[in-house]
Symmetry: C2
DNA sequence: CGATTGCCGACTGTCGACAGCTTCGATTAC
DNA sequence: GTAATCGAAGCTGTCGACAGTCGGCAATCG
């Protein structure tokens, strides 16, 4: 994460692959709703706009396809992923599956250090809850959940979570808002922390089910309002 | 491998993308132990051997990287994924997570049709258990588990399972053998079916835990023998 | 004799170009 | 007026080529 390059970030960016830069640009553009869901993306036009050739664009598009932000049709090109309510339900169901497992593993090896770091993150989220941008709130929320998965000790589980993270950002962006109540976000996460601190697996599972259930219902309802 | 036209010589080869064909070839080569774990793959050499240009090779390699069969280092190229015991444990732990969830969802909506199709598949596995090739046994086993996930109704869960399927094939191929006892494979799967038919979620969970646990212990033990 | 430096070969990252396919609008037949 | 047809434009799939970079080897210096 921290750049081991003592020179600075400017050279680091210069040395980065064009593929990654294009992928970042496309990711931000899709999350930022610069493209409509289902819209077709032209490789040549993207290459022209970004001042690069088609090769990096193609590879970046393939990368985003594997992340679920784009879908490709042979001989037709890439399209922005369009999510319906059913797919949204599936994504949150998978997230529930992963986070249940992570919590169950984490509660077996919970310690003071992990508790403190999670507590600090929740406090960051509380500070951000009112005032900062929506995307900032989302990112800090994802950081917390990623920490939980990471602390569970299973790196492959973390990769699976990172995979659906991109789709989560997409569908959260689609409904254009996060939590209705800025307080609910903090209380809900304190609940998760308390469950972990109690050491009770059943309580952890209940806390996760409640937390993910609320988020899913909110997003699915938001999608229903957006595109009925 | 073959010097020229290793992928295919018919005229209809153009109907499928070269990327997919190269990806299939590379997948079979990696699963078939034609490349050593950690071995570096040269794009130009692969392109020469397959009689195509580097572009399809690069895109296929990126695809296999997303599937966990290759890893890439910037400016250095692609390397065959090498799995250690810890990663193997993580993979089977994630598989346990996914299959537990699928079984829990499936037992809620289990019906006679699904039961019959799963039963037929287990019978196929029993027929194949003694005599056919190892890869055939593995594939039929994966078909059964994929059916369970598929019947659960969550397509995103199925995609997550397909993602780790490639890694499962890799690590199973690494140890070079499947189940020690050809009978254990059938009894273990009948146990899963009976648990589903009983409609008891707790019994389903126990059956999955036992099934995946046996498979994990066997593979992890096999890896320990292969590369201690 | 060990460490450093310069060089060489090979490789990856990127580019522009061509062929075949897809799409969409104009045209024509009914 | 409608529907099918045809053609042009744009697109993707694929290719060969060039430049910058990395790793290894040898020559040089302490």
């Amino acid at each position: 994460m921290s750049s081991s390059n003592a020179i600075g970030d400017s050279t680091f960016i210069q040395q980065r692959n064009l593929v990654e830069q294009v992928a970042d640009y496309l990711t931000q553009a899709i999350i930022g709703q610069k493209f409509a869901p289902g819209e077709r993306l032209s490789e040549v036009q993207l290459a022209r706009d970004l001042g690069v050739s088609r090769a990096p664009v193609r590879e970046a598009a393939r990368l985003l396809e594997s992340r679920g932000l784009l879908v490709s049709q042979p001989r037709r090109g890439f399209f922005v992923r369009a999510l319906d309510a059913a797919e949204l339900n599936d994504i949150f169901d998978l997230r529930l599956c992963l986070e249940r497992h992570a919590m169950a593993r984490l509660v077996e090896n919970f310690d003071a250090d992990k508790e403190e770091r999670l507590r600090n993150q929740v406090e960051v989220m509380c500070e951000v809850a009112s005032g900062d941008s929506e995307s900032r709130k989302i990112e800090e929320d994802l950081v917390f959940h990623r920490m939980v998965i990471s602390f569970s000790g299973n790196r492959r589980l973390l990769k699976a979570f990172d995979d659906i993270t991109h789709e989560l950002r997409l569908c959260i962006a689609l409904i254009g808002k996060t939590h209705a109540d800025p307080d609910s976000i903090s209380t809900s996460h304190w609940l998760l922390l308390d469950a972990l601190a109690s050491g009770d697996p059943e309580r952890c599972r209940e806390a996760v089910d409640y937390h993910i259930g609320v988020a899913r219902d909110y997003v699915v309802q938001g999608i229903g309002e957006t595109a009925p």
